[in-house]
Amino acid sequence: MSTLIASSAYINWSSLGTVLLIGILAGAGAVALYSLGLVALSVSGYMPGADGQTDGRAVKRNPLALVGGIVCLLGVVGIAVVGILEIFVKG
């Protein structure tokens, strides 16, 4: 037990917790946002289907879903840009 307590003194729990939290928010969050973007683009009717075509089929176009999809994808790009800027800030 004393070894466990002594070794835990070397652990920066605060930083590890922050990494886990931001990892979940930025990492898993970005993946969720990107997935939502794909869903929105898919239902928008503007994306090519499995046959690679959108024309010639009775596809109902949904501009709102298209905008929503683009916003989601831009949100992911925004998260990435913040990450890159973080490097600059650190430097």
């Binding site: 990492g27 794909l38 869903v39 690679g52 650190k90």
Partner: protein
């Protein structure tokens, strides 16, 4: 400064750039293994993008360069021979683990080499053991665990949310995402790892009296290190790329995207907080998490080999560093450095020649992972 010390410095710089080169081809897998495995990028294109991102990343910040070995050993005891021996330990371990196709931390190998050499040079008291525990061993435990947990959640979310999307859109969309996140991982790798060699070479220049201790990293060091890590990345450590991309799980593009996004988030956050997590361990943990997030079988035997290697990286590199320093010290500085650099070159050459017996290259990097753990005749630590 006499001609013999200049010769030693030149050799140290060459070995340092050699370490940076091995770091590049060793860690190319971290960013690009999943993109290559899912077919998001062709192998050569993937390593070219990664090399370019590493090159740019190396110029983004010099914050890490000043911190290498800080808090690990008493820097007042570091001599140019210690730096040489430390680099030798790092290079030897990187090349050996590459031969056995195992991803391992280049930074831990470098630190191990420096620790071993310092122990012979100035005794165990010159090593800051609390720093070793808090900067090497404990992060080695938590890095893959955190990455695994986050990647598992991210993968579960990716499949759950996108289940209504048709397969082709799904595959294409996530492949594009993979390219972006893999590039981000490469960028952060260039920022972190190239600077570690910049830091160690700056330390050698200070120890040799070439520059003052308060001088900034010379621009030629920055450019040389950036080019070395970038060239190493472009060469592509195909053996390790194969292990990370095909060995742990049968990965699909949503999993690859989730793994790389997680790696990028965890590496950048830990880097910002000054928490020294290994890129290799984070990326491997993310790939395992991507498998668990889809309740897919993980090849725990392969992961076990990796984990064991991570645990022995520091002591093994320390032994090489210690042995190198002892020989250099016994023969004499200049002659010793020349002899040991030739021994190191021969060691690397032999392993390279042996690796040609079972080459892994862009043509077979994505071949099916067989029951015996990879390609036939591929060297393995365990069956």
């Amino acid at each position: 400064m006499n001609s013999s010390s200049t010769l030693v410095l030149i050799i140290v710089v060459i070995v340092g750039l050699g370490f940076d080169f091995t770091n590049g081809f060793h860690d190319a897998a971290n960013a690009m293994a999943t993109s290559i495995a899912t077919g998001a990028l062709k192998p050569r294109v993937a390593v070219a993008i990664s090399a370019a991102a590493n090159l740019i990343g190396a110029f983004l910040s010099l914050a890490v360069a000043a911190t290498i070995a800080k808090g690990i050993v008493n820097q007042d005891t570091v001599t140019i021979e210690v730096v040489f021996a430390g680099l030798a330990g790092g290079v030897a371990w990187n090349v050996a683990t590459w031969y056995f196709s195992i991803p391992s931390s280049s930074s831990h190998a470098l630190l191990g080499g420096v620790i071993g050499a310092t122990m012979i040079h100035a005794g165990a008291s010159a090593v800051i053991w609390s720093g070793v525990a808090s900067k090497v061993f404990i992060p080695a435990l938590f890095a893959p665990t955190i990455a695994c947990a986050v990647a598992a959640l991210a993968t579960w979310l990716a499949y759950r949310i996108s289940r209504s999307v048709d397969e082709q859109t799904n595959k294409t969309g996530f492949r594009w995402g993979q390219i972006g996140t893999a590039t981000l991982v490469s960028l952060s790798h260039g920022t972190n790892d190239a600077q570690k060699t910049m830091g160690i070479l700056t330390l050698a220049l200070v120890a040799n009296g070439t520059i003052s201790s308060d001088a900034t990293t010379p621009m030629w060091v920055v450019i040389a290190c950036a080019l070395a890590i970038s060239a190493g990345t472009y060469i592509g450590g195909w053996r390790i790329i194969r292990t990370l991309g095909k060995g742990l799980i049968e990965i699909e593009s949503p999993q690859g995207f989730a793994a790389e996004a997680t790696s990028a988030a965890v590496i950048l956050t830990s880097s910002h907080l000054g928490l020294p997590l290994s890129t290799t361990q984070v990326c491997a943990g993310s790939v395992v998490g991507a498998g668990l997030g889809r309740a897919e079988p993980v090849r725990w035997g392969v992961f076990g080999q990796m984990a064991l290697t991570w645990m022995v990286t520091l002591p093994a590199a320390a032994m090489v560093g210690a042995l190198t320093y002892a020989v250099v010290n016994a023969i004499g500085s200049t002659a010793g450095v020349i002899v040991m650099s030739l021994v190191l070159a021969a060691f690397c050459g032999v392993l390279y020649m042996l690796s040609r017996r079972s080459p892994v290259d862009p043509s077979n990097v994505n071949a099916e992972w067989d029951a015996h753990g990879g390609l036939s005749h591929e060297p393995q630590l365990a069956a």
